[in-house]
């Protein structure tokens, strides 16, 4: 197939989103199946792109309108993007299934539209090769995320959405300032070209621009203290949306941040920015874990935990050795799997038993054994027990950080992990060893399959991480090896 078909990854959700009003005429019941269908197709395309990239070993460069960059906007689906687009598609597909049960608030057609736009935005953020395009996709993601956060229309939802809007608005404004600075000094918006020209840039401007870009994206990527919107948004948004936030929306922001920062590898500003990311990441881990400690709302607890894990990934990127980036990307993948499972299961419990508060989880092992089992596996995995997937990435990450002598940071992170163990095991204890009077609930087959699938994935990666590890290494190289990135993009006027 022509690699240019990969543009369907962007096109399909976009058009499908605008088709929703038409579909609505066929009846409201059709909308969610339609959504499922679209995400399924998207998954197929993503899988195809994934296969294509990993078999040929070359990235797919999609040139919009056939213009060569930097004149035209290009999509760059490298190893990392291919992997992540697949994850986005798969998680979205699962979430459409989940939505059938989880979403009962009208208007369902708007939900479907926003859902698709969110998926589109995240895909775009990861796949694009142009910084302004990145901004646009980020805004698409953000606006659909704002809307989805407030989708439930309760006071809490509106409040969370409002917080998200205000903070996100400030962030994106400054991001745009950064873009303006970049454009002003380099005259280009293409990432590859920026990377090429970065070393010739005025260091002060580069530093300022980079700082502003990082600032803007850090709001999306939930780095402390720019993450204040996150727990509220996670808690208030519909359950499938929470899953998507945690699994890929945030990670897309982080990815964008890291991609941009790594473009400036050869500039003097680079080390400073890395230190900034390291500090922010560590703070995020520590504050996130500590905040989760005494939460009674499990969903909020998971939100904080998710924030902390993002901080960990950020630390990995901040260390910025090849090993650390490998580990960070691995952690991204693992975390996406585990948090998808956790939020899915917790959301399912919340739907079934009415609330995601800790009371619902008491005796869950008797009420909903499979769900409880899934949460348990997820929790154990997050805590970092060997034979579960997160252990490998965490272990690798910390070793990589120690390798460059960041002992203090590692000690802080490990201390925070202890805290993490406490609240997760309190949850596990509540689920399995505390009594409750409620009766056993029949568990939904589709969810059970999804959860078991994810559980199996967690354990398989945990026991035999080899295949995923190889994928992840390639993806990380794609992210880290900027020279290769420049080479792969067919820039106009630059002979390869």
């Amino acid at each position: 197939m022509n690699p240019q078909y990969a543009s369907l990854l962007i096109a399909l959700p976009l058009f499908s989103a605008f088709l929703v009003p038409l579909i609505k005429r066929a009846g409201k019941k059709v909308i969610l199946p339609y959504l499922t269908l679209v995400t399924l197709i998207q998954t197929g395309i993503a899988a195809w792109a994934f296969k294509e990239v990993y078999t040929t070993g070359k990235p797919i460069i999609v040139l919009a309108g056939g213009f060569q960059p930097p004149v035209g906007i290009n999509l760059y689906i490298g190893h990392f993007a291919a992997l992540f687009v697949l994850i986005i598609a798969v998680v979205s597909f699962f979430m459409t299934v989940f939505s059938m049960k989880a979403i009962d608030v009208e208007p369902i057609d708007k939900y479907a539209m926003l859902f698709l736009l969110l998926m589109l935005g995240a895909t775009g953020m990861i796949a694009t090769g142009d910084i302004f395009n990145l901004f646009v996709f980020m805004e698409i993601t953000a606006i659909s995320a704002y809307a989805l956060t407030g989708y439930n229309k309760t006071g809490e939802a509106s409040e969370a959405a409002m917080k998200y809007i205000i903070l996100g608005g400030i962030g994106s404004s400054f991001f745009l300032v950064g873009v303006a600075l970049l454009y002003g000094s380099l005259g280009t918006l293409n990432l590859a070209q920026i990377a090429m020209l970065a070393s010739k840039m005025n260091p002060t401007v580069a530093q300022a621009a980079l700082a502003l870009l990082v600032f803007g994206l850090a709001v999306e990527a939930e780095l402390f203290p720019l993450n204040a919107w996150a727990p509220d948004a996670y808690q208030a948004s519909p359950h499938p949306v929470t899953v998507m936030f945690s699994a890929f929306v945030v990670k897309a922001g982080l990815y964008a941040m890291v991609r941009i920062v790594y473009l400036f590898k050869d500039t003097p500003a680079f080390m400073g920015i890395l230190n900034l990311i390291l500090i922010l990441g560590t703070l995020t881990v520590v504050i996130g874990e500590l905040s989760a400690l005494r939460q009674t709302n499990v969903k909020r607890m998971l939100a904080y935990s998710s924030i902390a894990q993002i901080g960990l990934i950020a630390v990995g990127f901040g260390v910025a050795t090849p090993q650390a980036v490998d580990a960070a990307v691995f952690h991204m993948v693992n975390h996406a799997i585990v948090k998808a499972l956790m939020f899915l299961a917790v959301g399912y419990v919340a739907i079934t038993l009415g609330c995601p508060c800790i009371e619902s989880f008491k005796g869950l092992g008797k009420k909903m054994p499979l769900t409880a089992f899934a949460i348990t596996v997820g929790a154990i995995s997050i805590v970092g027990i060997p034979l579960f997937n997160i252990f490998w990435s965490k272990f690798r990450l910390l070793l990589a950080a120690l390798q460059v002598g960041k002992t203090g940071i590692v000690a802080l992170i490990l201390g925070a992990s202890l805290v993490e163990a406490v609240y997760y095991f309190r949850l596990i204890h509540a689920m399995w060893f505390e009594e409750s009077k409620d009766e056993k609930v029949e568990e939904n087959l589709a969810f059970s399959i999804i959860m078991l699938l994810l559980v199996a994935l967690i354990i398989v990666i945990g026991v035999y991480p080899e295949p995923v590890w190889n994928l992840v290494q390639k993806a990380a190289t794609d992210l880290y090896n900027v020279a290769n990135y420049i080479k792969n993009v067919p820039l106009l006027g630059v002979s390869p």
């Binding site: 509106s158 300032v177 873009v179």
Partner: protein, 114 residues
């Protein structure tokens, strides 16, 4: 001359920020947000502005040499659209909030915390 634009743009951004940071009324904050966005847009435009040139519209007598850089203007158009969308959404949410909390005082809308 060009520094005046920059100065203006940055002033707008700071004014917007000031509004966000100090005003307790939600609507005022949203106004601040809009002002800030405007400031950013202005900045973006100023980046591409070359003193004495015309708009980059293909009309009689306009050549690339006489026009300013068109790309920032394209960008700003997009940014404005996005800004409008955001503002619209924010106002919707604000209405919703007022219905639920019966106030627009941001200090009182603190249901989610801790």
């Amino acid at each position: 001359m060009i520094s005046a634009y920059y100065f203006g743009a940055i002033s707008l951004i700071l004014i917007g920020l000031y509004a966000i940071l100090t005003k307790r009324n939600l609507l005022k904050i949203l106004v601040g947000l809009s002002i800030m966005e405007t400031g950013v847009n202005l900045l973006l435009i100023s980046v591409g502005y070359v003193s004495g040139r015309t708009a980059p519209i293909l009309t009689e007598g306009a050549t690339p040499q006489t026009a300013v850089d068109p790309i920032p203007q394209a960008l700003v158009l997009t940014a404005i659209v996005i800004g409008v969308a955001t503002t619209a959404l924010a106002l919707t949410v604000a209405i919703n909030l007022y219905e639920k909390y019966k106030t627009l005082d941001i200090e009182k809308i603190r249901g989610l915390r801790g």
